[in-house]
């Protein structure tokens, strides 16, 4: 193939979920099968890069100052679900199980990867709590050591700020459709730790 083709394929291959064959197939699609789609894709990429920014309140994707969730008056502003990344927020929205607002940290504390409190979106979350309109924080962070450390740091900061707010953490355990047999040890430990009265 030609150098420009191979360069395009290399860039496509860096995208999540695309390997050698799928990136080759997409490059051929855009250059041979449907070349009319290429300028439209370029325009959509450029427009998104130009207009999509972070919500000033919660850190979600937004085109104005506020994201669609924060700008929606029907959402319960007093309940804030704290997530690591925008895709986590998207997954919770897709479940249709939540009507509150969000706060996106854009990561989790990870000393081994050089991610400290200053790299995450903590300050504006503490500001929202200090503002007084938040009465519950739901921590929807990962079920791993780094997620645990992030939850711990956050509750310490909230205690130091001296404003009482209810803090919960989403339940961990066996996923829907899953059996005990196929769960890993950490999941089983969380499931046992998180057991509830059943009578």
């Amino acid at each position: 193939m030609t150098p420009a083709f191979e360069k395009l394929q290399k860039h496509l291959k860096q995208l999540p979920g695309l390997g050698f064959r799928s990136s080759e197939r997409i490059a051929l699609h855009l250059l041979v099968e449907k070349p009319e789609r290429l300028p439209a894709l370029v325009e959509a990429l450029q427009e998104a890069a130009r207009s999509v920014r972070r919500c000033l309140r919660c850190g979600n994707l937004a085109e104005g100052d506020l994201c669609g969730v924060c700008a929606d008056a029907r959402r319960e502003g007093g309940v804030v679900c704290v997530v690591e990344q925008v895709p986590d927020l998207v997954a919770i929205e897709r479940s249709g199980a939540y009507r509150g607002c969000y706060h996106v940290l854009h990561g989790k504390l990870s000393p081994i990867h050089g991610v400290g409190p200053g790299d995450l979106n903590f300050a504006s979350l503490l500001g929202r709590v200090a503002g007084g309109e938040v009465h519950e924080l739901i921590l929807a962070l990962s079920n791993d050591v780094e997620g645990e450390a992030t939850c711990h740091y956050l509750t310490e900061q909230l205690a130091a700020a001296g404003r009482p707010v209810k803090v919960t953490r989403i339940g961990f355990g066996i996923p829907s459709g899953g059996g005990v047999l196929y769960a890993d040890s950490i999941t089983l430990k969380s499931a046992l730790d998180g057991r509830r009265d059943y009578s």
Copy 2:
């Protein structure tokens, strides 16, 4: 999500092999996780769209007048493998089983889809044969009714032109209803080795 995000996702979803979730994941990757990759991808797309064209001789992708195969003096110019699409050529090249040249028809005869002889790259193939340097045509077209019709049309045109050329068709290994694009390298090698007289 935002309108520009959804527009980008819609364009990504049109690409082969990408569905709702994988296009969402790629859009989030380019806008949130690795925004520095987006301009490089746009540039690679634009450069490929600008510089990649059709080889004047065989119809393959090229950046100059001739593609990499036609420009390579070590390739056997007297043997021409006729394929429907550039991805078919790529699949045969990947098998490493072929050292001749190619001719890309950019489709196959299909009255039901309104594809007639005038829509395909036949004229320059007949021109190459009339030029006298071709002594064997290997028809690597699909093993289906349309591929059959295309082979039949081509041999009739060659007979009418009155220049004797050996015509073979690949045959072993390609399953009925399948195309060259999806065959593995070993299947393609046996298909090339097992070509039979067709005229």
